[in-house]
Subunit: 161 residues, 6 copies
């Protein structure tokens, strides 16, 4: 049977690799938490734009906790993927790992869910393309994302169309 | 009667003012969410160090939502204050406002609670000086902070001594 | 009795807090003088724009001398306030202090008077709102500023409308 | 049969994603060639360190030509992979693509071969782990790399152990 | 006899001086090769614009090899000069030296030939003013540049008008 | 006759060329005064280190006035030269010009006298090599510098050995 409806885009995944320089770190040689958050945001923003085909702006971040630090001379790996698409917003999961490029050893640094709003040419929220959900795992992921969104809305936060 | 116990420090407040340049903004001229998060983190880190007298590292951030954007040529005002001190960690509330320096108009941008761990010279968590709690308002603030901390621990996140 | 004339704006004060990173410092770990000057200028520019309600550009700086240095891991506090408003220019006093956030110790770093020209939408100098002068101290401050301005003009420097 | 000799590392691949900001671009809104070269170098350096397990410094770059430009608001994708390992040096191929995150369209920007020298703790060149060569394609790649290296040495350039 | 044809511009030379900060260097304290390439590109771009009177974009770089490193606290000196002007492109030679400002000692770091394309207001390649060639040395320089250009074109690279 | 006394170093001159990017400029496209001051300071610091053979830190700046602005896409040329050497301090004159690289047009931007203190390995002020004074013009320059220094000391400013 022929496909009549436009096929939603497959899941956009975006990955970044950053080398930790002295300018990124505090007096102990650890990357600032805020620098890692800035990298997470830019990685997620690219991921969101790849899915939506529009400029996407950060609407919010779920609570997050830092695990192990990353130091000067080590590498930060950031991976972002779409977990759910709503009316005019999108949820992105971002995972950050530390890596010692010499030994190859990696460790978890932090993970978080970020939401973005898709903006049209007029700067107003616009519709987000649906996310293809086919497998049982994808269905679970989407259900969990909807639950997180319900919690966010219950806390009465703006911009979560 | 003489004061026998050392007096805990009064509440440290830290404020920053940032002028938004093109390098901070996306194609719509809005500051990146990640840039604002980086400013919040550095402001809160200075606030935490002022209270603790030690190097403090970001342990986590509670969920947050961005309200109104700030654009190139406008000003970002960041204010951080200590809300509660625990054994080796501290909670900081950070408020961010946008400001149009020409008109004097200001608007809420985002608020969040950040937690920091105090590190001793050996890089291990160390004791945080207690926070002076005298008024009813301060008692309420502390009770709310303890409740948020209980929620964080219930989510089994690391580093919240 | 009702107020018939528009009330001039109260004195704009702007404060910035900067954490000294390795990228700001020379091989001895001291912040570059030029970095401190750049922070003074941006702080004063925001202060000037808050008073004038226009874009303000640096016209000049009176002579200044650096007192004690600020090192990596310490904090730079910049405070700017309007001292006098002239026809199309404004004088701003900027004070910079070093601070060790761990001990709370602070020390003088440098102070200077900067002058800014207010520019209208056409990029030409435009009128600056008058500064409210009520107390004896404010009158003295204004008289001193006028004297500094007379000295500047005597040195035949441009842009001091 | 058990494996008696240590297995050389598989081919290290490193990828970076960069969002083009105004600070990266000239007056036409195109990324500076030098900014792209800086991203290629850091991506290749991480790739080299992942293979060698040491600090690696850039020894040289083969001639390269820029194809199509990348503009503000678009994305630069950098991919580096090891093509050959010599005694104390390593050759890395770096490919750069432009991407419009909204349309998903990508295009070639530039490609080049970079060579790095592996440095030991004493800062002197040290041995590079061999590269596993199993397939016919890998053998061809290595032969071509050796030929490029012979050309480089014929031009009497330093640091190509 | 009066000069009837417009006189081509004399050879544009551009020099830059950079102080090496921690943010420019790797864990060994050596400037990143990519940072040096970025400085070379900007210096050559200014040199090209000075000759052409237009915006010039990097078309390519001939192979190059790094000689001796430059470290934090030392100085990088970059010198760019025009070696030949073609139809819509220009060849620039860039020399980089390291310098210890305390001892005055200098050493070669890297040299390369960069080619730029001159772009007109419409963003399309446009004619480059001819380069004045009068002495025997200048004639030799031009002949060598033409030979390098022939090699580049033989490798079928784009943008070398 | 043989030269019995060590010959003082000839006058160190340092020049820098900076390309103005959006990150350097305000909403009108003009470079911030503070950015120009930062470039002046780094150029003068290199110039001072070249004369003294030591780390030199900024002690002060004489009053200065900005002349014509420099805009995005234009070039800033900074030139620093030693005007006088005192016991442990040195005076540097810095001239800044704007340049439109396309037309070759240049214009004065700002000039100032900066003083630096020479620091020994222990971080304390140390002796500065004398400046060779041979011509009448050099003698006049030195006399003027001594007069400026007397004025500075009369204003009771620190660090001017």
């Amino acid at each position: 049977m022929t496909e009549l409806t436009p096929r939603p885009p497959s899941r956009s995944v975006t990955s970044m690799t950053e080398y930790v320089l002295p300018t990124h770190a505090n007096a102990l040689g650890n990357v600032f938490g805020g620098q890692i958050l800035a990298w997470m945001d830019i990685c997620a923003a690219i991921c969101a734009q790849r899915h939506c085909g529009t400029i996407c702006v950060t609407a919010g971040i779920d609570d997050l906790a830092f695990d192990q630090p990353v130091k000067i001379g080590q590498v930060v790996r950031v991976t972002a993927c779409v977990t759910a698409a709503f009316r005019s917003s999108i949820e992105i999961k971002v995972d950050v790992q530390g890596e010692d490029p010499a030994s190859g050893h990696t460790w978890p640094c932090v993970s978080a869910f970020l939401t973005f709003v898709s903006l049209g040419p007029n700067g107003r929220p616009c519709a987000v393309p649906p996310l293809q959900v086919e497998t049982e795992a994808e269905r679970t992921l989407q259900a969990e994302a909807s639950e997180r969104r319900a919690h966010r809305l219950a806390r009465k936060r703006p911009h979560q169309g």
